[in-house]
């Protein structure tokens, strides 16, 4: 029985990067002292009423449009349940009429994952359970509640069950995160909880109906997501193959033991008693507004990868291209190419041109362009170029040609170099004999000697070419 197929759908919650909360003027800010970003609406005080944050709606529309969804007139519902960090005892969410429906996300390899909906809702507060094991409420002596997060605007993005491997799930979340950051909707940090992923996992044999799914919660990184899905797939297959059946339930991923554990079964699921939120009116974004938001969308990561791949000759789904796009540094590479630099070389230098995680390049694109030009023309070697780059970084820019001259990096002319190589062959007779006998590694000692003699100014490629020519003559 090896023809099992994994079926995964992902529910991703993202906190929107608004200045204020979804229904009140309190700041939406992570990391402040507990219970400082609060007001009567956040606290659910009697008589307080929600007022919808227009910027949150705009960010939610950006997400929907970036995911190729239809933006439609929508309504808000109340999802009723008791929990101490839910001050009104209901969460305002969208139910049967969400803002965004029917879209898709394209994975780097080209596969499309369907998006069922991307709806708006408010976040709950944060409970910290003290005195129990592992921070769980069970066995805790008391709980602390921080309502700074209560009322923070969220968009929940629900995929269709189109994902077929843990790797696809990882790619989906990575790509989704890149899109969310690109459109400025969220900082989408899984570690800080501004992006939270739940996975619906089931297994079946292709051609038969989907199996019973389990929802996996508490997945806190892309890596954990892959591990949790792989574990859960194995668990379900083993269960069915040993004659058991999968129960529909919510399971908790335990990062420490690498397993999922039953959190609650379908039978103890809450009845949320959804009904239309009477304190809000229906939301119907005008066609004008939707088009304005659509027109203002930036170029999305998939298109940026395609552009960078074309420019540099590297594969679009390769690490070099995707990591540069992910860091948002592709525009810099394009700028280097635009002023006559070599895009492929620029792709190599771009990461260093920026400080770690910094937004601003440390060196003007024109300087890097000049450097890559010199390199391509053979005016400097790769090793020399690195040394020049280090100077450029230290000084915040400069004229690479002047730096090369100051360092004495003028190119050695080939006839002079041939003499140095011949001297090195004579000096390293053993290595030369091995090289001629077919031991390619032996070339290193000779090249090293040439470099030493020229203080690193020789172009390694030319040295290799001379050596090969000498051997075959």
């Amino acid at each position: 029985m090896s023809d099992w197929e994994l079926v995964v759908g992902l529910e991703v919650h993202v906190e929107l990067a608004t200045a204020t909360k979804l229904f009140s003027a309190s700041p939406n800010r992570f990391g402040d002292d507990p219970n400082t970003n609060i007001d009567p609406v956040t606290l659910g005080l009697p008589g307080a009423l929600p007022v919808l944050n227009g910027h949150a709606v705009e960010l939610a529309m950006r997400i929907g449009l970036a995911l190729n969804c239809t933006v439609q007139p929508c309504t808000f519902h109340r999802k009723n349940y008791f929990y101490p960090d839910m001050p009104k005892a209901y969460q305002v969410s969208q139910y049967d009429n969400p803002l965004n429906v029917d879209g898709w996300l394209e994975l780097p390899g080209g596969k499309r994952i369907g998006i069922e909906r991307a709806h708006m809702e408010e976040d709950a507060g944060k409970s910290t359970h003290v005195g129990g094991s592992g921070g769980r409420v069970h066995g805790a002596q008391y709980s602390l509640i921080d309502l700074n997060r209560a009322g923070v605007p969220l968009v929940e993005i629900v995929s269709r069950p189109d994902i077929r491997s843990a790797e696809e799930a990882r790619q989906y979340v990575t790509e989704l995160r890149a899109i969310l950051v690109a459109v400025g909707a969220s900082d989408a940090k899984m570690e800080e909880g501004s992006m939270r992923v739940d996975a619906n996992v089931s297994v079946h044999h292709p051609g038969t109906p989907f199996g019973t799914r389990c929802e996996i919660k508490n997945v806190n990184s892309v890596r954990s997501l892959g591990r949790a899905i792989e574990y859960e797939m194995r668990r379900q297959i083993d269960l069915v193959e040993s004659g058991g059946t999968v129960r529909q339930e919510t399971r908790h991923w335990d990062e420490n033991d690498g397993r999922t554990h039953t959190l609650r079964t379908k039978e103890d699921a809450d009845d949320y008693r959804y009904f239309l939120e009477p304190d809000l009116v229906p939301l119907a974004p005008s066609a004008d507004w939707v088009e304005k938001v659509r027109a203002a969308l930036p170029v999305l990561p998939a298109e940026r990868r395609r552009r960078l791949a074309t420019l540099t000759g590297q594969p679009a789904d390769g690490e070099a291209v995707s990591s540069v796009v992910e860091r948002g540094q592709d525009a810099y590479v394009e700028a280097v190419a635009h002023v006559g630099g070599d895009a492929a070389r620029a792709l190599v230098y771009v990461k260093e041109a920026f400080a770690d995680e910094g937004d601003e390049p440390r060196v003007p694109a024109a300087d890097i362009a000049a450097l890559t030009q010199m390199e391509v023309e053979g005016a400097v070697t790769a090793t020399q170029a690195k040394a020049i780059l280090a100077d450029l970084l230290a000084a915040g820019g400069g004229d690479p040609a002047a730096i090369a001259a100051a360092k004495g990096f003028e190119a050695i002319d080939t006839s002079a170099l041939e003499a140095v190589v011949d001297a090195a062959i004579a000096d390293q007779a053993d290595a030369w004999a091995k090289f001629c006998a077919g031991d390619g590694k032996a070339m290193g000692a000779i090249v090293g000697a040439v470099m030493k003699a020229t203080q690193g100014k020789a172009d390694g490629k030319i040295v290799t070419a001379i050596l090969n020519a000498r051997r075959s003559s």
Binding site: G44, V51, F82, P84, V281
Partner: protein, 474 residues
């Protein structure tokens, strides 16, 4: 003799002919005289009132205009939030809670120069029709203290009827302003849904709740509504437009207006009440109006729909009273037990009954049969009323099927109590305005109210008819 109308009081205070402080003292003296037998108030805010009156007088002395309600005393139903002053909803669950903010209506009244004398008693969370469901005791009818003042805004109605305050605010979810107004012999208005901001009104049933005034005259009610009405950005359901002044609509007569008689009005009204309704039709006909017959067939189901929708919303609105953040907390071994113990101790029977009803109506498997069906009935009632308003400018009905009943008479029978709202509830479901105008007396010399109903934002016509009825009595 002190001035009695809102306009004459405000004029006298603004001109310096009298002071807000002197007027307040007269009202405080009346409260001292009869409050112990009537119990209109949960709290008489003497100190705050004196400070507000002094501020009004100081403004006049400076040459500033304190506003159109200068020196007018007002009582607030105790489900409207007042900064720094306890707001109880006549429930133990809010024990010890003091709002950190004012309701929008409270801000507007203060800005207009009104002086708040106190917070009035109500049926707990506005659930009831007699102000007997209060955790703090019954409010009695100033016309006969053996009888109820009506409810749920019984304290506000009694306050105006007893002269404790010149005007008052109540909230009306199924008749809670109009019915006590009728029983206490004062004017009570439930405006169009969205006319007055609900920000700071502790919610009972959010899609039905609406704040409105009590007064001794139609004109006074119009003056208060002109101050508290109007769009509020803090309430998403408040209507985003300017309203015409209601005071200006009062002078016009009713000649040519079409007054609707609902021919299929649900039965149950007492003969003395129906007699006064006929007198009202006669008076309007005599004033030049035409009486036309209309049908509102779905109204028969109004009470049933209301007692699904209102409890459903209440079950959600009142879920926040859980002992975690404010109000009463009864400690127990774990969170769920604490919720249970707190709510068991904090809520009265009627509140618990409606929370249970509403929770059931919204539950999976029952939603379609109850809540879903009630919403359909609500739509039908709205549409039936709209059709009626194509034939008639306003409709005339009894406000309450009976005059004030003795305290305790319906206490054991919730259904009999619910029936008291049979004529008022449909208006809330439709979102339309309605007002009760005192129209003489019925059995035992007790006040009878006639109800004027109108379509969405037709308050000017409604007030015109109300004023005509009032004139016909003088």
């Amino acid at each position: 003799m002190s001035p009695t109308s809102v306009s004459s009081v405000a004029a006298a205070v603004r001109s310096g002919a009298t002071t807000a402080t002197a007027l307040l003292d007269e009202h405080l003296a009346r409260i001292a005289g009869r409050e112990s037998e009537i119990h209109a108030f949960n709290l008489v805010t003497t100190e705050t009132a004196r400070a507000q009156a002094a501020a009004v007088d100081a403004a006049v002395a400076r040459g500033d205009d304190p506003g159109p309600l200068a020196g007018v005393t007002v009582a607030l139903k105790d489900n409207m939030c007042t900064r720094g002053i306890p707001t109880t909803c006549s429930s133990r669950i809010l024990d010890g809670w003091t709002p950190p903010y004012d309701a929008t209506v409270v801000e507007r009244l203060r800005a207009a120069g009104a002086v708040m004398v106190g917070k009035t008693n109500l049926d707990e969370f506005a659930m009831g029709s007699s102000t007997e469901n209060s955790a703090f005791g019954v409010t009695r009818n100033p016309h006969d203290t053996a009888r109820v003042a009506g409810g749920s805004s019984g304290g506000s109605a009694a306050s105006v009827a007893a002269g404790f305050s010149q005007v008052a605010l109540g909230s009306d979810t199924g008749g809670s302003i109009r019915q006590p107004a009728a029983l206490c012999g004062v004017v009570g208005v439930k405006p169009t849904y969205g006319y007055v901001s609900r920000f700071g009104l502790v919610a009972y049933a959010s899609s039905l709740d609406q704040i409105g005034p009590f007064a001794t005259s139609v004109e006074d009610a119009a003056r208060v509504l002109d101050v508290i009405g109007g769009h509020d950005p803090n309430d998403s359901t408040s209507i985003p437009q300017q309203y015409p002044s209601l005071v200006e609509s009062l002078g016009r007569d009713v000649a040519g207006l079409r007054i609707g008689r609902i021919t299929d009005l649900p039965g149950g009204a007492e003969p003395d009440v129906l007699e006064r309704l006929e007198a009202a039709f006669d008076a309007l006909r005599a004033a030049g109006a035409t009486i036309v017959d209309v049908e509102v067939p779905a109204l028969t189901y109004g009470l049933s729909a209301y007692y699904v929708i209102a409890p459903a919303e209440a079950s959600s609105n009142l879920a926040r009273f859980d002992g975690v953040r404010y109000g009463l907390r009864v400690d127990a071994s774990d969170t769920n037990s604490m919720y249970g113990a707190t709510r068991a101790a904090g809520f009265g029977d009627e509140v618990k009954r409606r929370i249970m009803l509403g929770t059931y109506a919204l539950s999976a498997g029952y939603y379609d049969a109850y809540y879903g069906k009630a919403l359909k009935v609500r739509r039908l009632i709205h549409d039936d009323f709209e059709r009626a308003y194509q034939r008639a400018d306003v409709l005339l009905t009894p406000t309450s099927p009976c005059v004030a009943f003795p305290v305790g008479a319906k206490g054991d029978n919730p259904l009999a109590m619910y029936l008291v709202d049979v004529y008022t509830i449909g208006t809330n479901l439709a979102g339309h305005p309605g007002m009760s105008v005192p129209y003489g007396t019925g059995a035992d010399g007790l006040p009878v109210g006639v109800q004027v109903l109108a379509g969405t934002l037709q308050e000017p016509t409604m007030f015109r008819v109300g004023a005509a009825l009032e004139r016909s009595m003088s």
